[in-house]
Amino acid sequence: MTAWTGPLLDAVLCLALVLVCWRAVNARRLFESVALFMVFGLLMAVVWARLGSPDLALAEAAIGAGFTGALLLVTCREVSGDDARAGPLPRLALPRWLPDPVALALCLGLGLGLGVVMALSLPPPATTADAAAAAVASHPLSNDVTAVLLDFRGYDTLLEMVVLLLAAVGIRELVDRQPLADPHPQAPVAEPMLHSLLLLVCPLLLVMALYLLVAGATGPGGAFQAGALLGALGVLLRLSGRLVADASPSLPWRLAPVAGIGVFALLAVVSPLLSGAPLAYPPAFAYPLLLVVETALTISIAATLVLLFGAAPGLRLGRRR
C-alpha cells in the first residue's frame, strides 16, 4: 500500500459511514432504515479492521451487522402492515417548540463539537506499553484480546453473560405474559433448493465456528465470534423451520444459556483454592481451563442468541407434518 492510499481509504470510509448512518436514521420507510443499518454495520467492520482490531471486525460483521440486522428485519416484516392500515407515520415527532432545523443543528453541532474535542484530546501515541500490556505479552493465550476477556478482565465477561441471560429471561417473561405471534415457520419448509443450501452451509458454519473458537487463543477469533456464527446457524435453522418454538424446553436447551455463567462461576469459586485469587487461572493448566471456559461461553452465547431471535422459551427440532 503506498503512502496515500491508506489516508484516502480512511477518508472514504468515514464519509461513507456518516452518509449511510444519516440515511439510516432519516429514511422514511422502516425497511430502508434497517437495510442501511446493516450496511452501516459492515462498514463499521471494515473500520475495525483498519484500526487494527480484527477481533472486533469479526464480531461486528457477525453480531452487529448480521444478527442485529436479522432481528430488525423480522420485526420490520411484522410491523410492515401497520402503514397500510393506519397510514404512514410522519417523518418526525418533534415537539412544537422545537422546529426540525433547530433540532438538527443542535444534534449535529453537538456531535461535531464532541468529535473535535475528542480528536483534540487524543492521548499521545505509544502510551500502551504499560503494566497490563506487559502482563498480556507473557500470557499463555497469545491473542491479547482473548487473554484480556477471559483472564485479566474476567469479571466483565462474567457480567456480560449475565446481561445476555437477563435479556433472554426478559423475553421469555414477555412471551409468557402475552403470547406474541410466532413469525417463523412451525414445520420444516420443504423447498428443494433451501434443503441443499442448508446441507452446504450448516457444516461450513459449524467448522468455521470451531475454527474461530480454537484460533481465538492465538489469532483473531474467540468465544464471541464463534458463538455468533453458531447463533447464525441456529437462526438459519429457525428460519427454515428445522428448529421450532417449544413451550417446555428440554434439559439441554435449559442448560445451554447458563453454561457460560455456570462454568465461570464454578471457576470463581474453585480458583481461590488453586491459585489464590478469584477468576485467576493456575499457571500449570491455564490453557485447558481457558479452553473449557471459552467452549462453555460459545455454547451459551449461541443458544441465547437463537432464543432471543426466536423470542421463544425454548426450541426443539421441527418434525415434518
Partner: protein
Amino acid sequence: MTALYAVTAGLLFGAGLYGVLARPGLIQRLLALNVMASSIFLYLVVLAAGDGSAAADPVPQAMVLTGIVVAVSVTAFALGLVRWFRSETGAASLESDALRRDDD
C-alpha cells in the same frame, strides 16, 4: 488518521441522537440508539489504536467486544418490548394517533 475517526465518531453520535429524539417509530429509535453505541465504540477503539505504529491496546478492544454483545442483548430485548407494546396498542410508535392527526 485517528483524529478523522474521532470526528466521525462525534458526527455519528449527533446523527444517532437526532434519530432518537426526532423519529416517531420505536424501531427507528432503537436503530438510532445502536448508531450512538457504535460511535462510542469507535471512539474507544480510536483511543486504543494510537498512531498505528504500536500494537493496539487490548483492554478497550475487549471492552468494545463486550459492548457489542451487550448492545445486541439490549436490542433483542427492546424489540421484544416493541412487539409486546404493538400487540397491546396496535402501533409500534409512541402516541401514533396524536402524531397522525398532527400530520394532517
